[in-house]
Chain length 458, copies 3
């Protein structure tokens, strides 16, 4: 009886959140220029086309968030409704919230201008709590998950704003601001929710069936396929095509490496679906921060090989260690798919950035490294730009090695903020009134879902 | 023996239909301007690019029709081959037919000009009988379904032509002409095919398995993801970006609302997969007729909340009522996903249209409300347009409240035509030579499909 | 013990291949013009946009390769990990290799210029060994498959270069160079690996379950949906829109035909999932070589009807014959989906090409039939073209009937090269040190994959 009351309260609270969002949209959000009727004016006409051209990228990312993440997490034998359902529920809630949060940080005259850009950003932001959800999969209630996500998005938006807009670090594919943040936040929450010593063994339902593993491959493959869109959507000019090419090659190399190492390190040299479902994607994370740089095709392949290696080794050796020694459970192994590859990406970005010159990057220099422009350049740049485009910030005349330093500071700060935030969130989830799952309630849909009774005739 | 003969006759008749289509294409269809070789001419060159830009939208809609509808209907435990297979069969037949039917209504010199536009329209038209199929799922033979679809498409094309081209109502996302039509037509057929009182209980196989529910989520998620493409494909200018933004927000709000209400109204406050699979999408339907209007982001969120609410309540209370009292079965609950949300969309369109002014809509005014232009404007518009673009019809100098009245007339007419058409179709399916399914033959693939025998070793 | 050693050696060898690729990329590959930073220059600016416009096509093809092929092959009851996993593994390996191989054949100053075009080509090339894999499905080790693929890609690249760049045949959708090559190569390998007479019966696991057939439909539907992108990605100008329209209509007609014939030729007139999963796609293959020509909408429908017919008849009568008489096993029936429809496409291309005139094709004439231009035209063409675009080869002043002859020569050469290559590959796989599968090891994942033990509580 008690639990039913708590469930109701949690869901009612979420409805109130939805209604608060409605009010905030009413007060603060208006259509941006691209979505507002215009006087016939040939100069403005081009604007919309430019915007529209990112629509296919946006739709690819939609597939990654809803089908990719959703199905990737269906590998547990009795948690498929939750994996796909909570992904849909959580993403629907946080995309609305992230448009607001990111809008508040950037609004100028008290209004948020809504355009395709905002919902692309919202979809990317949705990846953050979904990554954290991967770490916690099956060990929280949906109510815990959703309130965690609301807090996480707010913190993410602030950290991203500092990293990209103030510190001006390069992170076009979001490896630092999205993947590292989501992974370490989730791991910190998981550490807070760690079981007692006598309950540290794997849950009764913490494994796949043949069919649930097949569903997970739907997620893996769509994430793999569309990752170049995720990494390139915020890149412009020739950097966008580099982002596509580098991500594609890095994924391919990581995949080959993953299969080979999976066979070599596993029992009887058999391939392990956990590696195939996850480590193949590490190449997309590890190349994220540098994919629009001049890393060369071989640079992309090398990063892919390293990412695949680290990720498989992580699943084979580090995850069991963390589980046993720290009682830090990581259901989907996000540390191996998102955490470590993101750190590699940040280190790679520091290395490649030290080699940056104006001569090599030509017209892309200012767009990719605005902080390395000097003041004269930045004002010249802004002057020639159309009023409608966002003014480039930067112009700090930063050297290449200073920029490299900022890259490293960026990842350090992000991990720190994520861990501190995750600890706070974990404490709230643990010590306040949230209903918690008992060991035997974990990794199964039944507590929160109507599940069909299996019948003899099947 | 008898049944085999009937089966053969039905399939042979469909082959004859396909051959008749071949002849009709031979006689009536030619490549449109965009698909025809051109003399090198810089002015025409732009034409093709403009057209090509809708190709990604088209592909998104293809996924909705074939994967979205197909898998959404796989939730029944023994009807997955039929759900995906008949979707593919039916859609392949009716897309060919709809190019012809819609072409006949608009052709000028005895020829149908084929271009990307026609196949976008054909895919949208395919949604109509697929919605009706949802109402009837498992209770007809494929032969009944396909002949119903051929008739339905013809009627749909005429009704749509009257609604959009003659009455000039606003319905960019097709909520009125597609969703309401498909739903009420299907419900009318279902009423005609209603069981006798002693056979009114649920069929033996009329429920999901865990796995079949997971497959249905594939359909749900792809429909959810690509719905902004469906609603925006026929919008132009800044209205296209509004259609994307509003559909996205309405879906998100409907989804949050659906999850909350599903938990609140269900047994033991458990989430119900029927709601998650269907009501989350009601936001896309309910915003369809108004998504390119200046409804504001909050307008989209509000419509989503209302749609999610109505849809879950419909599943919980209205569908059981209709089944028990009227013996009106609606296997997928299309009344809750398509029917009622479409009515909401029509009402919303009437409300928002009363507030339309030339000042607010600026350059979009004529494109969205051609009937509200006066004759001077319409001829000025048509004069400045390139010859290649379709001349805007309209110019009736309609007032905003008159337009609102037309919106309401449009939905009323559509529902009436759909119900009358559905009753006629139902009478034919019931009282002519079509083989009908017995109660115990319903909701299972076996009668029309080779199904693998289940074996002990699985 | 012995088998474990061999497994290790095979996987280590593949890691070495990956490292060799890294070195080759380091030495030979650089970013092409579209991915290289530019000096601000308005003339160059358009270049990138033009390229970007094929990105949505590319992503559609990615889905076809990884999800389409991967899931289409999951129909076997115990081979789903292998179907999706080896598709991912194999494609990741060969896309890297195909960029190199195709680049070597075309490089001018010792460097391969990498751009979006190269990875589109790489994805298309990946289809070739995946088609061959379909013929062999379940009867090779992954190591055999991957080394076969490396050899096959090299041979494919040479054959394609001869067919398209030297012989200048028309094959925009790759029916001849991709589908016929992949199918006949795979069938030749399969013939070499044919079982002894006493082992010629179907394998113990060589059939579907209800669930595995549903997963296969995921593959079928995504292949169906995106086939217009596959066939049109290399077309330009108005030919691209024709390629889309013709492929769409041919698929639709093939699908209707497939369902009808499947019911008519099968036991008890029941639909057969094998036909639905495969023959519905034959329309895409059969229209491939001619889809950008002026075949008319009726031409596309007619080709679809023929393709569906041939393909269903092939599954019903030819495949059993080949299996019983020649012991030529073809697990997925690629002869019916890719082989015969590709031959039909080649014949259709010869027929339609005889009717080609400059007057009809206007501006598309030179782009589609460069060999039919005379020398004056070709140099005029190349002179007016921007430096950045590839110079059109051709200018042989070929007549229409000569071009038709080249089309037939192209398919004959391709089949011959594929069969000879397949025989060689088969001999190597059979008589060298590769581990082979025993009859009872076939069509199941267990030998190479960790498979979850099924439990009582499911």
């Amino acid at each position: 009886m008690h639990s039913t009351v708590t469930k109701q309260t949690g869901f009612v609270a979420l409805m109130i959140v939805q209604i608060v969002f409605l009010v905030l949209y009413w007060v603060f959000v208006r259509y941006g220029k691209e979505a507002s009727p215009i006087d016939k004016n040939p100069q403005d006409a081009g604007l919309n086309e430019q915007h529209e051209s990112k629509y296919p990228h946006f739709q690819d990312i939609q597939v990654m968030i809803f089908v990719g993440f959703g199905f990737l997490m269906t590998f547990l034998r009795k948690y498929g409704y939750s994996a796909t359902g909570y992904t849909l529920f959580l993403a629907s809630l946080v995309i609305q919230w992230s448009v607001l949060m990111k809008g508040f940080l950037k609004m100028e005259d008290g209004k948020i201008d809504l355009s395709l850009e905002n919902i692309i950003d919202a979809d990317i932001a949705a990846a953050v709590p979904l990554i954290s959800m991967g770490a916690l999969l099956g060990r929280t209630t949906p109510i815990q998950l959703l309130f965690m996500a609301l807090f996480e998005i707010a913190l993410f938006a602030v950290n991203e704003y500092v990293a990209l807009d103030i510190l001006s670090i390069c992170d076009v594919g979001g490896s630092i601001t999205v993947h590292a943040f989501g992974a370490y936040f989730g791991l910190a929450v998981s550490l807070m929710l760690r079981p007692t010593k006598d309950q540290n063994d794997a849950g009764k339902y913490e494994g796949p069936t043949y069919t649930s593993d097949m569903f997970a491959m739907v997620g893996t493959l769509f994430l793999w396929i569309y990752w170049p869109s995720f990494n390139s959507v915020l890149a412009d000019g020739t950097g966008q095509e580099r982002a596509i090419l580098n991500t594609y090659l890095s994924l391919a190399a990581a995949t080959v490496t993953t299969f080979v190492l999976s066979a070599l390190v596993s029992h009887e040299n058999k391939l392990d679906m956990v590696h195939v479902q996850n480590s193949t994607l590490a190449g997309g994370v590890a190349v994220g921060s540098v994919c629009n740089l001049l890393i060369g095709a071989h640079g992309a392949v090398l990063i892919g090989i390293i990412a695949g290696t680290i990720s498989v080794m992580g699943y084979r050796f580090i995850t069991p260690f963390l589980t046993q020694k720290l009682r830090l459970h990581d259901t989907c192994g996000v540390h191996n798919l998102h955490g470590m590859p993101a750190v590699i990406s940040a280190i790679a970005s520091a290395i490649f950035v030290t080699m940056v010159t104006r001569e090599e990057y030509k017209s892309d220099f200012g767009a990719i490294f605005p902080a390395m422009l000097n003041e004269t350049e930045i004002s010249a740049n802004n002057m020639t730009e159309n009023d409608a485009t966002i003014h480039i910030m930067g112009g700090y005349d930063r050297t290449a090695s200073a920029q490299a330093g900022y890259q490293l500071f960026g990842i350090a700060m992000t991990i720190l903020v994520a861990i501190v935030g995750g600890i706070l969130a974990g404490l709230v989830l643990k010590y306040t009134g949230f209903r918690k799952l008992q060991k035997e309630e974990q990794h199964q849909d039944e507590l929160y879902w109507e599940v069909p009774a299996e019948r003899k005739d099947e």
